[in-house]
């Protein structure tokens, strides 16, 4: 180790890999991964979120997690976004493509992608 910069480089490279274990992020993205969700294609959606969150450098801020059946199987794959102090947002019939927009607009920009939410699906 010849310099502090070298140490900082290793730290920054590794930080994203261990940040998962802190569990203190402000936002949680939860993907429904019960049998219905998986059958409807939740796996690629989950993986897309994990990758996008990392690529965008949001790993310290957003936790991507999974849950069981949310109970609205006809709308699977379902993704819910929890944020402290705000109402949860439920996205339905998600795809990896749609995930991109959610990450860009909602997770980064703080603006809900209304056209994917359950309310607009019902309407």
């Amino acid at each position: 180790m010849k310099s502090l910069a070298e140490l900082a480089a290793i730290r920054d490279k590794m930080k994203d890999k261990v940040v998962l274990r802190e569990g203190t992020s402000d936002m949680r993205v939860v993907v429904g991964m019960a049998t219905c969700g998986i059958a409807a294609g939740a796996r690629p959606v989950l993986n897309a979120f994990v990758e996008l969150v990392n690529d965008e450098g949001l790993a310290g801020k957003v936790t991507v997690s999974q849950t069981g059946c949310i109970g609205i199987c006809q709308y699977e794959p379902v993704v819910e976004v929890f944020e402290a102090g705000k109402d949860k947002v439920t996205y339905v019939k998600m795809t990896a493509e749609k995930a991109k927009k959610v990450v860009e607009q909602h997770l980064k920009g703080g603006e809900v992608v209304t056209e994917y939410t359950i309310d607009s699906a019902k309407a």
Binding site: L7, I10, M14, G23, V31, M33, N54, Q66
Partner: protein, 600 residues
């Protein structure tokens, strides 16, 4: 892309309950489910809840699974990791009430009663990072303190920071660490040494082992900082050979640190050289005493020598040396990074920071906890430790191992720090905390610790070698019911003599278990002598078993279970115990369904 981490405890406790097998089972199950690229398995150090091992934590949710077996692995993988359904039956569910009510999400580790009141400083990385991967330590700001010290601070600034922080030696003595460093720094010499005392010898104590197993780099980093502060280029870690996992992880850590240039020549290009070697101890308790430890590193028989000269002036190989305990070192990098004020804001007036305790004895959660100094015994035992099992009553807690003493129930609310414990005749010690309930005989406890010190006395000085032996003989006499009241007085006198005249800490503190039990439980000693009675029913010579003829149904169960054939009687007739044959094992009492066996 990794989306979840499965942390498997690889500490000694969980390893012995089978965590190694879990690792391969998880690897297999993940592969089967095609999750190998999405879920990472991480072997970590101790989480602290050793009684519930093997422990597995799944992140990002922080789900805490306890007592996981190989058979459970497939279910965790297919349910939790694939489908996101937590396997409820394996979740450690002792969650604080207030959290339970508001839990609308998976309850995480930090919400549990066991962790909630804890403040993890020395243990901050234990159970979080993989101790065999230096990059994970670096990710947690590892070696940043060393970098800061070497590039921004002068040695005297480092020492001043430690002095300001109020950090005191965690090995038991409580000597201010900064002062120790200052003394060693002031002595001029061509060579100086930095030693780490990892010869953790108190029965039931495993704080240092867990730090070494879970976060070895923290100790290496702190030793390098110490080297810079006092002007030393060589360090030694004296660790007992009975800690194979700790030794193996230390070796890996030292090699990785050398590879990354964090030990060796010209660290961070500052011209500072520092290297560390391991010396294995053979498990002699006396080698935890600083002068004996250094004698042992030098390759001689581990015996203490008189002080002064103190190690700061003439230590290892006759050179100025500092010797600190593992836990002390583990605090230092964070004091450098977060500042003396941050550290001094925790704890009591004269005892700053936190202390790790190894909880053992009659307590629900046997394990490792770290709390701010000044936390009361009640909080540690009732809140964090989950209380005493089977509804028994708290009688006393033993701190400081064979050098310490007992804290009786009347001090249940005393804030634990160095000075308070000394004032009530115990000591902090390295942090062993053994909880005793009403089934514990205090005379027997004193005898247990004396047996230990008699065994471990190195024999160099007479007060310790002969004195402790005589002390044990008197205790033995009392537990057999042959003691006299004069014996108790004689014993007390002998205790003070040994304390005043022994060469090293081992002898000077050996009588403490006797003195403190005499101080708080003298009536029990007197009972043993005058009434020939052991109220806890522990001292076998004073206990007798008999059959209550009214309750006995003559089922013969007791006669069949008695290993020495001391019970006689025919079917449906009340049985009898032959006192001359009875070995007082209590097997008959356990077996009897009718409560007909009486113990006195």
């Amino acid at each position: 892309m990794i989306r979840a981490h499965v942390l498997i405890c690889g500490g000694t406790g969980c390893t012995s309950s089978g965590s190694k097998k879990l690792q391969s089972a998880f690897a297999g199950a993940l592969k089967e489910n095609g999750l190998s690229d999405e879920v990472k398995i991480v072997q970590t150090g101790c989480f602290g809840l050793c009684a519930l091992g093997p422990v597995v934590i799944v992140y990002p949710d922080g789900t805490f699974y306890s007592r996981v077996t190989e058979e459970d692995v497939a279910e965790i993988v297919s349910e939790h990791l694939l489908k996101g359904r937590v396997v409820e039956r394996l979740v450690y569910n002792d969650v604080a009430e207030d959290v339970k009510q508001h839990a609308d999400h998976n309850v995480s580790l930090n919400d549990t009663a066991f962790y909630k009141a804890q403040k993890r400083v020395a243990l901050r990385n234990c159970g979080v990072i993989n101790p065999e991967n230096i990059e994970e330590y670096i990710a947690m700001d590892g070696y940043a303190a060393l970098g800061k010290v070497l590039t921004e601070m002068k040695p005297e600034d480092v020492i001043q920071t430690l002095l300001d922080s109020g950090l005191r030696g965690r090995g038991g003595g409580g000597f201010p660490t900064g002062l120790k460093w200052k003394l060693a720094a002031a002595n001029e010499a061509d060579q100086k040494y930095v030693c780490c005392n990892a010869d953790e010898g108190d029965p039931g104590a495993f704080m240092d082992r867990s730090v070494l197993e879970g976060d070895p780099h923290a100790v290496l980093e702190a030793m390098a900082i110490a080297g810079y502060a006092i002007g030393a280029s060589q360090g030694y870690i004296y660790v007992r050979a009975e800690y194979p996992i700790a030794v193996a992880r230390l070796e890996i850590a030292i090699n990785q640190a050398r590879e990354y240039g964090l030990l060796g020549k010209d660290i961070f290009g500052t011209g500072f050289d520092f290297d560390i070697d391991i010396r294995l101890g053979a498990g002699a308790f006396v080698c935890g005493e600083e002068t004996a430890l250094m004698t042992s590193i030098e390759g001689n028989r581990g015996e203490p020598r008189p002080r002064p000269p103190y190690p700061a002036l003439k230590g290892l190989f006759g050179k100025p040396t500092i010797l600190n305990n593992v836990e002390t070192y583990a605090n230092i990098p964070q004091i450098i990074l977060k500042g003396a004020d941050w550290f001094a804001s925790m704890g009591t007036e004269k005892s700053k920071g936190t202390k790790v305790f190894a909880l053992g004895g009659k307590i629900t959660h046997t394990g490792l906890v770290e709390v701010p100094m000044g936390t009361t015994l009640r909080q540690v035992i009732d809140e964090i430790g989950g209380g005493i099992p089977n509804g028994k009553k708290f009688k006393a807690a033993q701190t400081g191992g064979p050098s310490g003493g007992c804290i009786p129930a009347e001090y249940y609310d005393i804030p634990i720090d160095y000075d308070n414990l000394l004032s009530i005749g115990s000591m902090m010690g390295s942090g062993g905390l053994i909880v005793m309930d009403e089934d514990t005989c205090m005379v027997d406890i004193a005898k247990f610790f004396l047996e230990f010190t008699v065994d471990e006395s190195c024999g160099k000085c007479t007060p310790c070698r002969v004195g402790t032996k005589r002390l044990l003989e008197i205790l033995d006499k009392i537990t057999k019911g042959d003691g006299t009241l004069e014996d108790i007085d004689k014993m007390e006198e002998l205790c003070h003599y040994i304390k005043q005249n022994s060469l090293c800490g081992l002898g000077q503190t050996a009588p403490n278990p006797v003195l403190s039990t005499l101080r708080y439980f003298r009536d029990e000693y007197i009972e043993h002598v005058t009434e020939k009675k052991c109220r806890a029913g522990v001292c076998k010579s004073l206990v007798s078993y008999s059959v209550d003829a009214d309750k006995c149904k003559g089922c013969t169960a007791c006669a069949r279970v008695c290993p020495v054939g001391a019970i006689s009687g025919s079917v449906r007739q009340a049985h009898k115990i032959d006192q001359s044959k009875c070995i007082k094992c209590g097997a008959c009492m356990e077996k009897c369904h009718f409560g007909a066996i009486l113990k006195r």
